[in-house]
Symmetry: C2
DNA sequence: ACATTTTTAGACACACTTGTCCAAATCGTC
DNA sequence: GACGATTTGGACAAGTGTGTCTAAAAATGT
């Protein structure tokens, strides 16, 4: 008879803890050093794990890399959907609510650890793993953009916005969000809260000048 | 007595030709493989030059990399200024002229070989060479944004646009320009002419909805 | 044509990494 | 406490890449 206090996840506990710790460390090192420059010994040390354990779990460097990207993509994707679910569908103050939403988007998705890592890995190694990143593109940006577009379409339907092409509006919203932070992010720096608010405010103001429904 | 037919550049001809050929090949390989993954033998082969020549010219891998970034930054910068000098200061058809300008910006600066390479190198290795990329930032984006902002300010002064903060408008113009091509560029793909036109048209239409002067 | 500089090809030492193997230690569970 | 599975550390072979050195070949300028 099984005395499962809780139907725990299949693999045992310590095993799993090490697994995520490896992924975490590998993500950091792959990002810092690139695929070729990443050193498995260093990843092992940073994960607090022996090198052999990494080989036990993932086989070789390439499979480890793939596992890292999949994990990051999954998390980042989940973060996007969760944040988009807080979109202001019935805003009291449209501008303020959209600004707050943009700030959430930044801190939960674009500027957080996983988001930054994933973006960097896509840019650096995208051409080396076409199928891997094609998959990311379809599961990630395509879906999240569509989700965001649906929310904007709803605001338009409610008469608050004047939007022809909701998909385009969603893309432009995201582009404007990033306008002030492009270079900062490019160099791997972390903008502070104030910068996030400023960037979001600037973006939303311009977005509303372009798309706010007349009247 | 010197019979200089033309006051040629100081270093001899073949020497210089090899120098640029090395930079060219190195740029390509550094971008494809990253700094750590780049192989000097491969660069030499791709440049049609012996490995020793590279060491003669640049000393070691790191100095070669620095030379590549400097060269790309210089060229890209020059391209930006040249293209910005074609900004429509006295437009006949504001929308059409701005769209054409945006297309030029894409094909001469953002999507061309040097621009793509430089962006990728900044993103991949920016954290490893803080001073190098800090220099790029000041000589590049800062200056080009200011130059573009000045042009927008002029259009505003002429009563064609309604702009509070020309610097912000310039950043947002560039951000909108890229809105449709973000993912494509991220994966290192080259958008075709039609995509460039579409992206530029979408961007300029929204930009003008936000900033066109009333009346 | 000659003198000087540059380039070339190859060999070389050295360091570093990956991935494997194995015996001992540790962990989780009954 | 004992059992099986996992982890560990260390040694190891094989491959790869950097940077140096050399002598011969080519190019350059006068």
């Amino acid at each position: 008879m099984k005395t499962d206090t809780v139907p725990d996840i299949l693999p045992p506990r310590g095993h799993d803890a090490k697994r995520v710790s490896v992924i975490e460390a590998a993500a950091a090192v792959f990002c810092r050093e690139g695929f070729a420059g990443a050193n498995i010994d260093l990843i092992a040390a940073e994960a607090g794990v022996s090198r052999q354990t990494i080989y036990n779990h993932h086989g070789d460097k390439e499979h480890l890399f793939i596992a890292v990207v999949r994990e990051l993509a999954e998390r980042t994707n989940a973060g996007y959907f969760e944040t988009i679910s807080t979109f202001p569908d019935q805003p009291e103050d449209l501008e303020a609510d959209l600004i707050a939403f943009a700030v959430r988007l930044h801190s939960n998705c674009i500027c957080n650890r996983d988001g930054k890592f994933l973006r960097k890995l896509v840019q650096a190694e995208g051409e080396r793993y076409p199928e891997l990143f094609a998959g990311w593109r379809e599961q990630g940006p395509s879906r999240t953009w569509a989700a965001l577009a649906a929310r904007f379409a709803r605001l338009a339907h409610a008469g608050l916005l004047d939007i022809d092409d909701p998909d385009l509006a969603a893309r432009q919203f995201l582009a404007l969000i990033n306008a002030d932070l492009q270079v900062t992010m490019m160099l791997g720096m972390q903008p502070d809260e104030a910068a996030l608010r400023t960037a979001s405010t600037n973006a939303v103001r311009t977005f509303l000048k372009a798309f706010r429904a007349p009247g």
